[in-house]
Amino acid sequence: MRSSLGILLLALTGLLVYKLDQPMGSLPALGRLVDPINGCWTSAEDADKNFTETISIPSLSHNAQVWFDARMVPHIHAASDHDIYYLEGYIHAYFRLWQMDMETRAAAGKVSEVIGIKGFEFDRKQRRKGMIYAAEQSLKAMEADPRTKVMMDAYTEGINAYISQLKFRDFPLEYKLMGFKPEPWTNIKSALLLKYMADDLTGATDDIPLSYLREVLSPEIFQLLYPESITGSKTIIPHGTIFEKPSLGKPTAPANTIFPHFTKKDFKETREDGIGSNNWAISGSRTKSGATILCDDPHLGLNLPSLWYEIQMQSPGMNVYGVSLPGAPGVIIGFNDSLAWGFTNNYRDVKDFYLVKKVEGNNKKYWFDGQQRDFTQRLEHIIIKGEKEFVDTVNYTLHGPVMYDERYAAEGGLGKPLAMCWMAHRSTNELLAVYQMNRAKDYNSFVDGILNFQCPAQNMIYADKAGNIAAWGQGQFVNKWKDQGKYIMDGSDKAALWGDLIPMRENPHVLNPPRGYVFSANECITDSTYPYWYNQSFVEFRAWRIDQVLDTLPKATIQDMFALQNDNYSVLAANMLPLMLRLLPDSLGDREKGYANQLRNWNYRLSAGKTEGSIFQVWWFYLYNKTWSDLSSVPSLLYPTPERTMQLLQQADSGKVKLKELENLPQLMSVSLRQAADSLEKARKKGLEWYKVKNTTVSHLSRLPAFGFSDLKIGGWGNTVNAAKGNHGPSWRMVVQLGKEIEAYGVYPGGQSGNPGSKYYANFLNQWVAGRYNKLLFLPFSDKQNTTEIKYTWTINK
């Protein structure tokens, strides 16, 4: 009796232990997780942890040092290229392993393997885009160059040296929560990470929506609403810059039949908001110190662990500081002892779609130039946790992968076979550019470096100690005929093929323009005197504001730069609001009148704690949508840009433009204000302060709210320089003054550690929100450092 009760109890206990050792649904294995010895508690990092230690790494060529300052920024001194990238890999893995793993999984479309079916649609899209194919192509180029080969191999070695010593107990917290474990790093993963950036920055394209608009709008209206460049653009390469004579002739545009027609029924809708960034450099003639100043704040998705990791790296011929991407070697944005550089995204279109004409009755062939060609098939095996593997067959044409077809519809539900031709699929070696930029000594060696930067195209702003400033619209571009790639093209026609590559030295650039400053904020790159044709939608509001401020700063200081990067002044509001208020009819309700009156003395700043920004932005939101909602059935996400809308409303008011949608402006204003008032009444419960209405959030990559931060008290929006939107914004603010001694400041919304149990996890966040900066410790090149600012030291013996 006793023992049968015992067996029963034992069975029950066994079952309980078994259950606690297994994940349940989306819950992790609780027993394993909460165990104080091996579970999550090992991530509870001692707040006073002493990071100083001696580490033995036999595979290094020489001894090395890593000094950590109080913010846990590592300053590495190593004796060879191999050693420096080895240590960078080791350190990235030490602080950010799970993030590197997840980001490369995301790039490759291997997320479902660890999160199950909910990652499937995402994975499938990545596979269809040919992300792994793209990384394989670039890896060939990276491994073919001896410099980048060493860089990648050593970086991978360093990561694996760190991973190989880990037991379950040492895994970053997220592995324990999600129930998987780190796998060895390979070079392809670094290549994937770089393609992830390329996809983030050049992935969006309007080809498909524009093909739709071309069907539903008359050519005149189309031109009016979607002009190729916007009037008054403060182009990145200033007006008046003389471009070199082009080495390539202007290709002739083929007949219009090159663009296949679709019917309205082929589409539904879609369009995503672009991403933006700002950078600028000021010549010494316009700064108080007389030294050049360079500023950069790339706007990207705001996540934790942060995309960026601050680092200083010293090895023979190199002393560089800046932000790196955990998962890839080198410093991406930063400065060295001679010069500084910053990037914003260059929106020139490098991704086009072709309608594939399949051979009827033969799934393996397609037509090109009157001949049948074979698809190259690529099998994409998507492993899904808890489900059967999914195998997707992706056909590759000479243009690129057939991303969409009847089995996988394009945006707008267009179920036609569309092949994608994308610069990111080419065998390019951006790492070589990183390698060279990090070591550049002057303008010429910098330019030599960036000429290897092909995709994603970037607006690169440059400044050096010698007093030079420059801007380059840098990337690999194709010599296109007018309108090539603007719409979906006929994939069977030879004339639609991408032609010659434009020699990189002919990319738009300017060195030391007379006005004494250069800047970019994702606006149009050149005026019409640039000899090559290109397209894409550019944004202008931030560029207008930056130009306005820089133009009136004869003696710029570092403080001025901080102020400009955190500037919440809305050019949209300044231009639109007077018109909106003036056009309001008298017959308004009291509530609407109240809101309108609150805006009458506003300074057009989207300040965090004020309500005017909320009222204006909500009103503008309804006005914008109301304006275009009747536009011959254009889906909501295909509306003309806010810049163009603003101009058209102004022109309609002055009678320069006649458009059905803009006939009754007073009515537009009052209806949209009423809608805004309704919406604001609802928002009142939470509070009408601008930061509460917009809710800037920095979330953990797993989207677990417990590890993220929301309702951050930061001002600004996409139309202000401080473009802090919902989950997108200035991912790294940097200001560098290149005097005799370099004086640099920076901040990003996160912290150096990826561990949510570390005090270094998000310790820069409040500074970032408040617009404050860290002074960056830039150590002189030496294997011995004598400063009290070093808090911990890793002595690394080979």
């Binding site: 006793r2 023992s3 009760l5 015992g6 067996i7 109890l9 034992l10 029950l12 206990t13 066994g14 309980l16 232990v17 606690l20 050792d21 609780l30 027993g31 394993r32 909460v34 165990d35 104080p36 010895i37 091996n38 579970g39 999550c40 508690w41 090992t42 991530s43 509870a44 990092e45 001692d46 707040a47 006073d48 379950f168 917290l173 677990l704 709210p705 417990a706 590890f707 949510p756 149990g757 570390s758 005090k759 996890y761």
Partner: protein
């Protein structure tokens, strides 16, 4: 006296065992000890419970206090618990239940 000895043995052997083997040592150890120690079922449960619960409780505190409750605070939010104190209590309780039940079944199976 035997009761105290039981608890001390549980704490000692579990803390050693968990260095090398996973968390379920908190079940194996109390079960094993109660197989060899002459103690009634209910008393075994109590000793196993107190042994594991206090071991886990102290082990968590040794991590949590120097950490300034950063991790426990975030984990509490994750599990929708009101604060980190409650989380630590629940963790100790969970460990205690597993330890107690194992000790009890060991005592019942002792010949």
């Amino acid at each position: 006296m035997r009761f105290i000895l039981f608890i001390i043995l549980v704490i000692l052997l579990t803390s050693i065992g968990e260095q090398f083997l996973p968390w379920w040592m908190i079940a194996v150890v109390p079960f094993g000890i109660s197989l060899f120690m002459n103690m009634k079922g209910g008393t075994s449960f109590l000793a196993g419970f107190i042994g594991i619960a206090s071991f886990w409780f102290v082990a968590v505190l040794m991590k949590d206090i120097p950490n300034d409750h950063i991790l426990s605070g975030r984990m509490a939010v994750l599990f929708h618990l009101s604060d980190y104190g409650l989380l630590i209590f629940v963790v100790a309780l969970l460990g205690g239940i597993v330890g107690g039940l194992s000790a009890w079944s060991g005592a019942l199976l002792r010949k």
